[in-house]
């Protein structure tokens, strides 16, 4: 049993970051915007961390879950349902879809899994446009239904709560048999199998968990932009940003994606001021640099340089 001192140390890093974000959001609406984006990225990256960091499965199609959440939100709100319940519904449907996609796609290994998940992003867009689903290319506008209810603070705090929730979830999974199984199958799929790990079941569970909060975040996004269409809510950029942030922060750690999201957004903001338009370019190169030089991310670097910080960097 760990004593109170250890527990406090372990979580203090996390608590500190969250407190900081709350404080920043209260300074001004400009800061609120930034905190919103940080939290948005944080939620989707932490979610991706479950399947990618623990399970070793690089889901290039992660952005699809956001889109699903956004569309479910829009469809329900148009029917008159409370927006906040619609967000939760978006998350649940997203997980359900993850289950359906997962039972098919999770049998594939390595590069084939990557190709398949990467292809789901344009595929879903084409399905919506081609099948004229939910308004097809034109989408659904939400001004009429939500205009007055818009509250940026509320949206940001929903993301904050989501992030805290997924943090707790990540900690729980990491210390649970599922966590051990996922890490084992990440390291060596076949040996995990002969050691008793039901890899298919574990992968599917991780996949479902990883889809929940991006679905909620999709609903938040829809609320913010008021117009849900394929171009705006299904964006490959989020897939790469999420992957980047997980790698940047420290894949497979709990605090990694949190740190990664903060660092990423700060850098992105700075770049926007001095080199507008070049953010993604520089980040593309940054990803390459990270993989070659610091594959364990910021957490890995800090753990190696500053041994005293180890207990904070969970």
């Amino acid at each position: 049993m760990e004593d109170v001192g250890d527990a406090v140390k372990k979580y203090s890093g996390l608590i500190l970051i969250y407190l900081l974000l709350i404080l920043l959001s209260l300074i001004s609406t400009a800061y609120l915007e930034i905190v919103y984006y940080v939290l948005f990225l944080m939620v989707i990256s932490q979610s991706l961390n479950i399947i990618m960091g623990f399970g070793g499965l690089y889901n290039f199609g992660h952005a699809v879950f956001i889109g699903i959440g956004a569309y479910v939100f829009a469809l329900l709100v148009v029917q008159g349902l409370n927006p906040y319940i619609s967000m939760i519904a978006g998350g649940i449907v997203s997980s359900a879809v993850a289950f359906l996609i997962g039972i098919v796609v999770l049998r594939l290994r390595g590069p084939f899994f990557a190709i398949c998940t990467l292809s789901t992003v344009p595929a879903v867009k084409y399905l919506i446009i081609g099948g004229k689903i939910a308004g097809g290319a034109a989408g659904i506008t939400l001004f009429r239904y939500l205009g007055e209810a818009y509250n940026p603070y509320m949206l940001t705090y929903i993301l904050l709560i989501s992030s805290v929730a997924i943090t707790i979830l990540t900690l729980k999974v990491s210390a649970s048999p599922l966590g051990y199984s996922l890490k084992a199958l990440r390291e060596d799929h076949d040996v995990a199998e002969t050691s008793g790990v039901d890899t298919t079941r574990c992968k599917i569970i991780a996949f479902i968990i990883s889809a929940l909060f991006p679905g909620v975040a999709g609903g938040v996004l829809a609320f913010k932009i008021f117009w849900v269409m394929p171009e705006t809510v299904i964006d490959l950029t989020w897939s790469i940003e999420a992957i980047l942030i997980v790698l940047l922060g420290g894949s497979g750690t709990t605090i990694g994606p949190i740190i990664g999201a903060v660092v990423y957004e700060v850098l992105k903001d700075l770049l926007m001021r001095y080199f507008p338009g070049l953010q993604l370019l520089i980040f593309g190169l940054l990803v390459v640099a990270i993989i070659s030089v610091a594959p364990e991310g910021i957490v890995g670097l800090l753990k190696n340089r500053f041994k005293r910080l180890r207990s904070f960097l969970i």
Binding site: G56, Y58, F60, V104, V105, R107, L108, G110, P111, F112, A114, I115, C116, L118, S119, T120, P122, A123, Y126, L127, I129, G130, G131, K132, G136, A137, L236, T237, I240, I243, L244, L247, G277, L278, Q279, L280, L281, I282, F283, G284, L285, L286, V287, V288, I291, S292, P295
Partner: protein, 296 residues
């Protein structure tokens, strides 16, 4: 009815050939070094821009700009290989190259946007149309098809009649054995990647002919799905697999809109790519080695 079938077949084959050529690079690179080149779509786009600027600045039509595209693609391929790919080939994490090429692709797309803006551009190269009583086809399409065949023959020559080509095929088959036989594997990998890149550029230049106004930094997204379907269906490790896959997709894209047109309330042109995605999944599940791939 006969006219329809004929039209579908001809267009399918002609467009399919270009698709196949455009994807050959992807199959080749996978075959040689087991890397899925997620930058492929952006290399295609760069090829398209090469054709555009050749047209605007020098007045070269897309077919005439092929040597330029090939050269550019080759050089850029060598760069990418030595700066990025080579380091990651032996990393314990098999996903390194995937993420790196994906990130590079995103970076290149943004670079193009910064350099040339997101405006749609086009190469309006038209030479008129060959007309039969029941069938017509733009002359440029015919020339494109002929160029495709010529390039494919050249690639065949390179792969089967030159030392370089033979070392590529050796490395595809078994890199360890190739090394023992004195093949400089690293150089072969580099050249293989460069060749794949050159082919992507050429494909991009030729696709321009089918897209009178559609060149933009993000056009790669359109071809992402298509190229993967072609590559996987045809057989990833085999460059000729790309041609097979290309033909399949080319024909599918001609037939599917007609069939889907009978379903009310859908948009056949956008639903067709989704259909191809379903085919991708089915092939990956049942026959991942594709039509021409090596049987396990």
């Amino acid at each position: 009815m006969f006219e329809l079938v004929f039209q579908v077949l001809v267009y399918g084959v002609i467009i399919g050939a270009v698709y196949g050529l455009a994807t050959m690079g992807l199959n080749l690179i996978w075959g040689v070094m087991r890397v899925v080149n997620f930058t492929h779509a952006e290399l295609l786009t760069l090829g398209a821009y090469t054709a555009y600027w050749a047209w605007v600045l020098i007045g070269l039509n897309p077919i005439a700009s092929i040597p330029l595209s090939a050269l550019l693609g080759f050089v850029i391929g060598i760069f990418i290989f030595y700066i990025i790919i080579y380091r990651l080939l032996f990393s314990p994490d098999i996903h390194s190259t995937l993420v790196a090429t994906f990130a590079l692709g995103v970076a290149l797309a943004e670079l193009m946007k910064v350099l040339w803006t997101a405006d749609y551009r086009g190469v309006p190269w038209a030479l008129g149309v060959i007309k039969f009583s029941w069938f017509s086809i733009p002359i440029t399409y015919v020339f494109t098809f002929i160029s495709c065949i010529l390039i494919i023959i050249i690639v065949y020559f390179i792969l089967y009649r030159t030392y370089f080509g033979k070392s590529i095929r050796a490395v595809i088959w078994d890199s360890g054995a190739a090394a023992i036989c004195g093949v400089n594997v690293k150089a072969t990998l580099a050249l293989g990647f460069a060749l794949g890149s050159a082919l992507a550029f050429i494909g991009g230049s030729l696709i321009v002919i089918y897209l009178p106004t559609g060149i933009n930094p993000y056009m790669g997204h359109l071809y992402l799905l298509r190229c993967f379907v072609i590559a996987v269906v045809g057989g990833l490790g085999n460059p000729w697999g790309a041609l097979a896959g290309g033909l399949v997709l080319g024909l599918l894209e001609q037939v599917s809109p007609i069939v889907l047109g009978y379903i009310p309330g859908v948009e056949p042109l956008s639903l067709t790519p989704f259909l191809s995605f379903l085919i991708l999944i089915i092939v990956l599940l049942i026959m991942p080695e594709g039509i021409l791939g090596r049987r396990r």
